[in-house]
Each structure stands twice: as structure tokens, then as C-alpha cells.
């Protein structure tokens, strides 16, 4: 079984549409929407929910004003300026500023502070027309998205082992932070989706630096290559220099957007398009390549 993650540095490069299009091409795969902060794959996948799980988020402290003597000790210790005096003189904790370190709870002489884990995050196991999908929804302003990504990838792996899937395909989160790191850890390969713009180039260079530190094979795909042929060229030579195989280039296509509006994958929308051809070729190459086998 091969565990493959699709990443793009920044959002908006068409990564989710490409993941969806691939879903129509690949068989026997478990899908993971690892962009837990803004999960969108379900819009096209139309999942039928089978299991719902609560994912416990960070601790959030709160003050019991009946026990509090307003000594201010907690406020002095909180490094995150989350504890404030209210207009009525009492103290309160701003749940959005609280990092959940629980130090205030430990220093309070009257045990007026207690912490609870937020339960605003959920993750789901669903059936879809392409196979099982593990996805999540984070509560607004939550932290720990990296841990949630690790959780859903673990669940996907269990499912993949059980049904003897050939692949796990992760639609990764944007950025290069902890969620992106959690979506790469232990993967067998990363597919980089980029677009030829100055910012796209800048983002992909940072992302490559990150993935290289994990020593995982990378494949690149340039989307909307015809928007700027100069930058496309520069990217091609950059990938060559870095030893990253360019698996294909997709033209800019309004069809990509309209397939999304109709909640269809590109294959379902127009299976004869150039995009579908390129993606099928790409998948054939990746599926037959010698990926590092870990399992």
C-alpha cells in the first residue's frame, strides 16, 4: 500500500479539483481530506456519513468567580495575555487567546481555575462513490490541526489495511506549518501542485525545502501552465535542478470550475479533456514507479 499526499504550498492552485479528478481514475483507494481547516473535498465527493468522532482540541481555562479572590497571580503568570480584569473588577479568560498551558490553574491559590478540552472538532468516516473518505471539520478558531491530521490519517491507514487498499490519497492542507508537516510524515510520496505565478513559485520553493527535510520522493504538476509561460519554464528548470520529476502540465480551464459547480470530478464532467488525459498519464507513472515501500 502506498500513502501519497498532494500539497500545494498555498491554496487555490486547484489541488482539490485535481485530487477529485484523480479519484475518478484511481481504484481501490482510501481518501483523506487532510485540509482540516477548510475541508472541501466533500463538496464533490458527497459522502454518506458512517461514523462521527469528536476530536478533543486544546485545553481552555476558565475562572470560577465564586472562588476567585482577585489576587491577580494568574494574570501575572499568563504569557499569552489571555487573562483580563473585567469592568466590574473580576477576572476573566479570553478563550481565543488562551493557549491551554494550564499554568494559571497550577498557580491559583484558591483552585478557582479549571480547564476543559474543547470539543468543537469532529472527524468522520464516510462512504463515497470513489471509496472510503476520512475527513474532518474543525471548530472556528481551533488549534492543533496537525494532531487532527495525524488522527484522520491513522484512521485511514487502519481502513486501508482492513480492506487491503492499494493507495491512500491525502488532499493536503495549505502552508508549511504543523498541519502540512503532519500530512507528510510517513507518506511514501508527495505530489506538488503549483501554478506559474511569482507567488506560486515562492511558495513551492519553501514547500520543497520542507519536504526535502523528510526525504520523501516528490513529483510536480504545474496547473494553469499557460497563464505564464515564462514562469512555467523557470519552474521546469528549477524542478530539473532539484531532481524533482515533473509529471505533467495542465492548461488553464474554466471547465475545472464548472465541474466543481456541478459537484462532479473532471472525469465525470468531460472525460475526453486534455486535463483528464494528462492526469491519467500522471497516475500511471506514479502507480508504476518504485516508491519507497514502508509497510
Amino acid at each position: 500500500m502506498k500513502d501519497i499526499t498532494i500539497l500545494s504550498g498555498k491554496g487555490g492552485t486547484g489541488k482539490t479539483s485535481i485530487t477529485a479528478a484523480l479519484a475518478s481514475v484511481i481504484e481501490n483507494t482510501v481518501f483523506v481530506d487532510a485540509d482540516v481547516d477548510a475541508a472541501d473535498l466533500h463538496i464533490i465527493f458527497q459522502p454518506k456519513n458512517k461514523e462521527t468522532h469528536v476530536f478533543e482540541g486544546a485545553w481552555v481555562a476558565s475562572i470560577d468567580t465564586d472562588l476567585c479572590t482577585n489576587c491577580g497571580l494568574c494574570q501575572q503568570h499568563c504569557k499569552f495575555e489571555a487573562i483580563h480584569f473585567k469592568s466590574d473588577g473580576g477576572l476573566q479568560i479570553d478563550p481565543f487567546a488562551c493557549e491551554g498551558c494550564r499554568l494559571c490553574e497550577r498557580v491559583c491559590p484558591t483552585q478557582a481555575i479549571s480547564s476543559m478540552r474543547s470539543i468543537n472538532n469532529h472527524w468522520y468516516v464516510s462512504d463515497t462513490r470513489f471509496g472510503p473518505l476520512v475527513h474532518a471539520k474543525m471548530g472556528p478558531g481551533e488549534e492543533n490541526s496537525g494532531k487532527l491530521v495525524t488522527q484522520i490519517r491513522k484512521s485511514a491507514k487502519d481502513i486501508a489495511l482492513e480492506i487491503k487498499a492499494d493507495f491512500i490519497l491525502n488532499d493536503g492542507p495549505p502552508g508549511i506549518g504543523c498541519a502540512a508537516i503532519a500530512s507528510i510524515t510517513g507518506a511514501d510520496a508527495v505530489i506538488l501542485v503549483t501554478e506559474p505565478s511569482k507567488s506560486g513559485f515562492h511558495d513551492i520553493v519553501r514547500l520543497i525545502e520542507l519536504v526535502q527535510s523528510f526525504n520523501i520522493p516528490m513529483y510536480a504538476l504545474i496547473n494553469k501552465f499557460d497563464i505564464n509561460l515564462d514562469i512555467t519554464k523557470q519552474m521546469e528548470s528549477f524542478f530539473a535542478r532539484e531532481g524533482i520529476q515533473l509529471m505533467g502540465k495542465l492548461p488553464f480551464s474554466e471547465e475545472m470550475v464548472y465541474s466543481m459547480v456541478e459537484k462532479k470530478t473532471m472525469v465525470e464532467y468531460n472525460k475526453d479533456s486534455e486535463i483528464v488525459n494528462t492526469l491519467s498519464e500522471l497516475w500511471k507513472k506514479i502507480a508504476s514507479s518504485e516508491l519507497k515501500m514502508e509497510h
Binding site: 487555490g12 487567546a97 478558531g141 488549534e143 507567488s199 511558495d203
Partner: protein, 288 residues
């Protein structure tokens, strides 16, 4: 106090950066020259790419205090490890080994309070940089840049804001994508938030999540639609039903996408687009 406007979008790639950069220049032209652009997308700061003639005015590393364990004094009582909610302290008493994983440490200070044996001392670690750029015409851009691999996005954004240089009437915060902690940190002191979206099912779904967040933290906001005409009308129906102000829209054009890709947007905004940004500026003037 400066009037602070944050630019956010649930989903990446909606054109948030383009919007922030253009709004910034439009304010500079049509309102006040005392405006500063602050790139809070510290994982992938991109605003600077639109100002090729920049020069660095000042740059400073952002350090945060992390503990260092003196194994000569440590009794391996493990109290600090127990206090650390972020699993940043690793110790193996049998081997007299104790260390701090600096990438996990949130600098909360709990372990310092925990240790009764004076075995923990302060040291610092660099989590990124804050840079102040001169971007021509006396305009200033400040940017935070997170060290690759560091999870302390939120802390760096806070540091960036604490280190803003110069007195400005207006600050434009370009927020990271999404709806999680770093976004909340960016908008926390904003007077108004502009959500940039695109009229596609993905765009609308993510917009709804962001609207939920803004209502929860009680921030006034309006919506700007980018790439208008590219998808369907769902976003307009949503804004109407929820009574949310539509601040303006910019039609999708492949030519414009080409300009954007070259980072040439500021000097090449077509006239009719410049008008749209000016209207947003007028809207903000009324709020201030």
C-alpha cells in the same frame, strides 16, 4: 490609534493577497499616505512580491524564551515534564538525560514555575524574522517570516504586531488562509474584516465557515467577491439572506490572472478595477 483592517478568506487562492495589495495602494492614493501593509501570512508571506523595488529598512529575528535544563542541578523529579502541556520536555532519569524540544515549546513558562531545584534557565530560540521594507514612495510593508518547520505561527504573528514600526493612521493586515488560531490572532485587534471569496461552491462553503468565526468573535465584516462570473450565484444569495454587505467585486479575466502571475498587479490595474477598490476605500472611510 490606527484604524486596522484585516483581509481574510476561508480558502486560499481566492485572491486575498491581490486584494490586500491593491486596497493598500488605493488607500495610499485616495485617502492617506499614512498606511502600512502588514503581511501576517507568516508561513507563506507573498505581499512583497508585488513591490519589486523594495529595500530592507530593518530586520530583526524573533526570539522566544525557552527553557534549558541544567542536568547537574536537576534531580529528575519530572515535575517540569508533568507541567508541560505541550510535551516539549523529554527526560530519561536512568540516563541522567533531560532536554527541551524547542519546536514543541510554546514558551508558556510553566516549567520555570515547576522546578524547585533551580535547574531550569532561560535561553532563547529564533522562530522567525520580522522585516520592515521600504517599498517605494515612502510606503512601508512589514512582514513576518516563520522559520520552516516551526509550529509557532500564532506567536510569530503576535510578535509581528508588537514590533510594528512607525505611526500609521491605517494598518492593513493580510491574514493567513483558513479559520484556525493564526487567523483569530490576526483579526483579534482589527476594527473591520474584509472577507475575500470567489463565487464557486468551494469558495462559498469556506466563506460560511469564516462568517461563523467572525460572528463568534464578534467582529464587523463585509465581503468582497473576486473572480466574479466564474462560478454560480450561490454566494450572492447567501450574502442577501444573511444581510452581509457586498463591498465590491472584480470579474474573472484570464488576462488579469496573467498579470497577477507576473506580480505586476499594482501598476497595471485596469481602470474599472481601480474604481472598485476606490469604492471599498470610500466604504472604509465611513467606518473610520
Amino acid at each position: 490609534m490606527a484604524f486596522k483592517v484585516a483581509i481574510a478568506s476561508g480558502k486560499g487562492g481566492t485572491g486575498k493577497t491581490t486584494f490586500a495589495v491593491n486596497l493598500f495602494s488605493s488607500i495610499n492614493e485616495n485617502w492617506t499616505r499614512s498606511v502600512q501593509l502588514v503581511d501576517c501570512d507568516v508561513e507563506e508571506p507573498n505581499d512583497l512580491l508585488f513591490f519589486p523595488n523594495f529595500s530592507v529598512k530593518s530586520e530583526k529575528p524573533v526570539e522566544h524564551v525557552i527553557p534549558e535544563i541544567d542536568t547537574a542541578k536537576c534531580t529528575f523529579c519530572k515535575k517540569c515534564e508533568d507541567y508541560c502541556e505541550f510535551n516539549a520536555i523529554v527526560m530519561m532519569p536512568s540516563m541522567q538525560y533531560a532536554t527541551v524540544n524547542k519546536d514543541l515549546c510554546h514558551s508558556c513558562g510553566a516549567c520555570f514555575v515547576a522546578c524547585e531545584f533551580d535547574a531550569i534557565h532561560e535561553t532563547t530560540d529564533t522562530i522567525g524574522t520580522v522585516t520592515n521594507y521600504n517599498i517605494g514612495n515612502e510606503m512601508s510593508l512589514m512582514e513576518g517570516n516563520l522559520r520552516i518547520g516551526s509550529p509557532l505561527q500564532t506567536i510569530l504573528i503576535k510578535d509581528l504586531k508588537n514590533n510594528l514600526v512607525g505611526e500609521h493612521d491605517i494598518l492593513i493586515y493580510d491574514a493567513p488562509p483558513g479559520t484556525s488560531c493564526p487567523v483569530v490572532e490576526t483579526i483579534s485587534d482589527a476594527d473591520f474584516v474584509i472577507l475575500v471569496t470567489e463565487p464557486t461552491p468551494f469558495g462559498v462553503y469556506d466563506l460560511k465557515l469564516t462568517v461563523d468565526l467572525l460572528r463568534e468573535v464578534n467582529k464587523p465584516f463585509g465581503v468582497f467577491v473576486n473572480k466574479a462570473g466564474l462560478g454560480n450565484s450561490e454566494v450572492y444569495e447567501f450574502l442577501k439572506a444573511e444581510n452581509i454587505d457586498l463591498l465590491g467585486e472584480i470579474p474573472f479575466s484570464k488576462e488579469y490572472a496573467g498579470l497577477y502571475s507576473k506580480g505586476e498587479i499594482v501598476r497595471c490595474v485596469p481602470l474599472e478595477f481601480a474604481k472598485v477598490y476606490k469604492e471599498v476605500v470610500e466604504y472604509l472611510k465611513k467606518l473610520n
